[in-house]
């Protein structure tokens, strides 16, 4: 019995770099012909092997340019592999974008037919699902108007409604869930979960960690066209996270392009992290010493109440490091560096956002400068209390310094 849905065998996809054979002008073609110089080649995918079984939900993970979209293009037959082969078992639908083929002059209903048949649905199939599609999109009032009069939100809803009614054996989705409002996104996610529960195979590309781990059980990590990790989704995401940290060690972040608020007597200009010894650091672990350093440029000497606030991924403020807690004002002049020192970081694993603010007073009435999204830091789990133990059951939000004892009463 065949139990796989997709089998990828030694698949390589090579593109010619800046070559004439792929460009559009006769002149360049003639030039390359005369030179007989082999164009530079670049492997978008290199010897990828993988079997995806029926009913699996798989996320393809990797930084930009790792080959995720190329792999999806090969799987959806848009372009053939240069080498190797792909075996598909079942009816395939791919959504590299939604609303493919939509024409602005046609009405909503006409576009449902157009998009539906581009995606591989038959006319009778579309007709029988029409009511359900319209209900899903929630735009039945405008259905006989040309979609050029639609708002972009309405267009997205219509496009998604059609896509959601596909009934393939294998569904491949590129980062298309990023569009649409939260409520609508949830609707789509539950639709995808429904497909998965019916035993359909799902291949999914997303940069959204939460979404990937909600939808998928398995993750494939690509790096420079090669499959470097294949395993449980959480492990794959961790592997990827590490990859990102290594590939782009950020030493500091310039804040000039950020949105600033306040009277701007001075500006927060740069932010970076340091360890106990005062060296720049990139990876943050629970229990570590952490210094948050901010460079400030001021024309005059100003005394300010400065604050660094820490928010988690779901926009909840974890804590605030404000100088007003000590009734202390910080003196700021030309190129001053303000540092917040945290001797033992009590945060658990996750992503956190740092917000900077400076006030002239202690009550937070007169704002000098504020940057709401100054830096995202990604905290890794580590032994806060010195011993590697699982905190099960459940997940901690913060750590406290504490001790536990007993005595006879």
């Amino acid at each position: 019995m065949i139990d796989f849905a997709i089998k990828i065998e030694n698949v390589t996809k090579t593109y010619a770099l800046n070559s004439a054979s792929h460009s559009a002008s006769l002149r360049q073609f003639a030039q390359s012909f005369l030179k007989t110089k082999k164009p530079e080649r670049f492997n978008a995918l290199l010897d990828v092997n993988c079997t995806i079984y029926q009913g699996e939900s798989v996320a393809i993970i990797g930084i930009n340019g790792a080959g995720k979209s190329t792999l999806l293009k090969l799987l959806s037959r848009i372009t053939p592999p240069t080498d190797g082969q792909i075996i598909l078992n079942g009816r395939v639908s791919s959504l590299l974008e939604i609303g493919t083929g939509f024409h602005p002059e046609l009405t909503g209903k006409e576009n449902i037919f157009l998009n539906g048949s581009v995606l591989g649905m038959s006319k009778t199939e579309i007709q029988s699902k029409m009511e359900s599609i319209l209900k899903f999109a929630g735009i039945s009032r405008h259905i006989n108007q040309p979609i050029k009069h639609y708002s972009s939100g309405m267009e997205v809803r219509l496009a998604f409604a059609v896509a959601a009614h596909l009934e393939p054996d294998i569904l491949m989705i590129d980062e298309v869930l990023a569009v649409g409002d939260i409520e609508f996104q949830e609707k789509c996610i539950s639709k995808m979960k429904e497909l998965a529960s019916k035993g359909k195979t799902l291949v999914f590309i997303s940069h959204n960690r939460a979404l990937s781990s909600r939808l998928c059980k398995r993750g494939l990590v690509l790096e420079k066209g090669q499959l470097v990790y294949d395993g449980e989704i959480e492990d794959s995401l961790d592997f990827y996270q590490e990859q990102v940290m290594k590939s782009a060690p950020m030493t500091e972040r310039i804040l000039s392009s950020q949105r600033h608020l306040g009277n701007r007597k001075f500006n927060f200009s740069k932010i970076w992290l340091e360890n106990k010894e005062g060296n720049r650091k990139f990876d943050v672990k629970s229990g570590d010493h952490l210094s948050i350093c901010v460079e400030v440029d001021s024309l005059e000497k100003v005394e300010a109440n400065v604050a660094c606030r820490i928010y988690n991924n779901s926009k909840t403020r974890i804590t605030s490091l404000t100088s007003s807690y000590f009734k202390q004002k910080i003196e700021v002049g030309a190129s001053t560096i303000i540092s917040w020192h945290i001797p033992k970081l009590a945060l658990t694993e996750g992503k956190y956002r740092l917000e900077l603010a400076a006030y002239e007073d202690f009550n937070g009435q007169v704002l000098i400068d504020e940057v709401t999204s100054a830096l995202w830091i990604s905290v890794e789990e580590s032994a806060y209390h010195g011993h590697e133990v699982s905190s099960s059951p459940g997940k901690n939000m913060v750590y406290f310094d504490f001790n536990v004892s007993s005595k006879n009463s």
């Binding site: 559009a24 848009i78 592999p81 080498d83 598909l88 791919s94 493919t100 046609l106 048949s117």
Partner: protein
């Protein structure tokens, strides 16, 4: 089960058959949007050929004084224009069709050849209208039709296959060398004069040696225009060199699929 590797044929006949409904949908879409937002709408399909027939018969008949037996000049021109009008429409709309649809091609799989073919099908509307206008003119001028008319469907078929063939070739080559987008309109314009539309082919070839005449009929449009007139008006005997034209026409059609197939695989990469 579907196996894909570098030598997999991109489009198989089976695939094409499975996507026949998509061909219908594309054709229907093109029809829908063709005259969208025009006030006169479908009337344009009539106005355009009326104007071109009038201008051509005026230029060749009245100004150049080209003598063409007893057939009214306007009927003579309308007959000759049948082949060229369709060819003109198809080369323009099919020729650019793949580039126009590039966003779709980069995002989803379907047999790409459906796109130029759907455009060529839309052109049949114009061919039909031209034929209809011709019938009106013949009724008005009381022009008898020739018994050769039974061959008309075959001649039209050759005309359609040749035009689709050129349309398919151009649509594929345009993706690789966009220069063709600028060359083609000139060539098509030139073909209007190289094709015996408003004048008889004899007018050009009578005074020339035989080999030049053969070359003249390598242009399938020339043979098709003569053949159209022969089947409808039957005024003269059919020049046997017309068969060169018909052969080139069918050869073009057969080759077009091969050429398209070769470029089709890379289309999503080069667009």
């Amino acid at each position: 089960m579907k196996v894909i590797n570098s030598s997999t044929k991109f489009t198989s006949l089976e695939d094409l058959y499975n996507h026949r409904e998509l061909l219908r949908t594309f054709t229907w879409r093109d029809y829908k949007i063709r005259y969208a937002q025009t006030t006169l709408g479908f009337l344009w399909a009539f106005i355009q050929p009326i104007i071109s027939i009038s201008i051509l018969s005026l230029v060749f008949g009245s100004f150049l004084q080209i003598n063409i037996s007893e057939t009214p000049q306007i009927i003579y021109t309308a007959c000759g224009l049948l082949s060229w009008t369709y060819f003109n429409y198809v080369t323009q709309s099919s020729g650019s069709s793949i580039i126009v649809a590039q966003e779709m091609i980069k995002k989803i799989y379907f047999p790409r050849i459906i796109i130029p073919i759907s455009k060529a099908i839309i052109g049949l509307i114009d061919l039909g209208i031209n034929l209809f206008l011709l019938v009106l003119l013949m009724v008005y001028f009381n022009q008898p039709y020739s018994p050769n008319i039974i061959f008309l469907p075959i001649i039209m078929l050759f005309n359609i296959l040749f035009s689709i063939g050129i349309g398919i070739i151009l649509s594929a080559i345009n993706t690789r060398f966009r220069d063709f987008q600028y060359v083609v309109p000139f060539v098509v314009q030139l073909s209007l004069f190289l094709t015996p539309i408003a004048y008889p082919a004899d007018f050009v070839v009578n005074h020339l040696p035989f080999w030049v005449e053969s070359i003249y009929f390598l242009n399938p449009l020339a043979g098709l225009a003569e053949a159209f007139r022969w089947s409808i008006l039957g005024s003269q005997t059919l020049n046997p060199l017309v068969f060169i034209s018909l052969f080139v026409a069918i050869l073009t059609f057969a080759l077009s699929f091969k050429i398209f197939e070769r470029i089709e695989k890379q289309m999503a990469d080069i667009l």
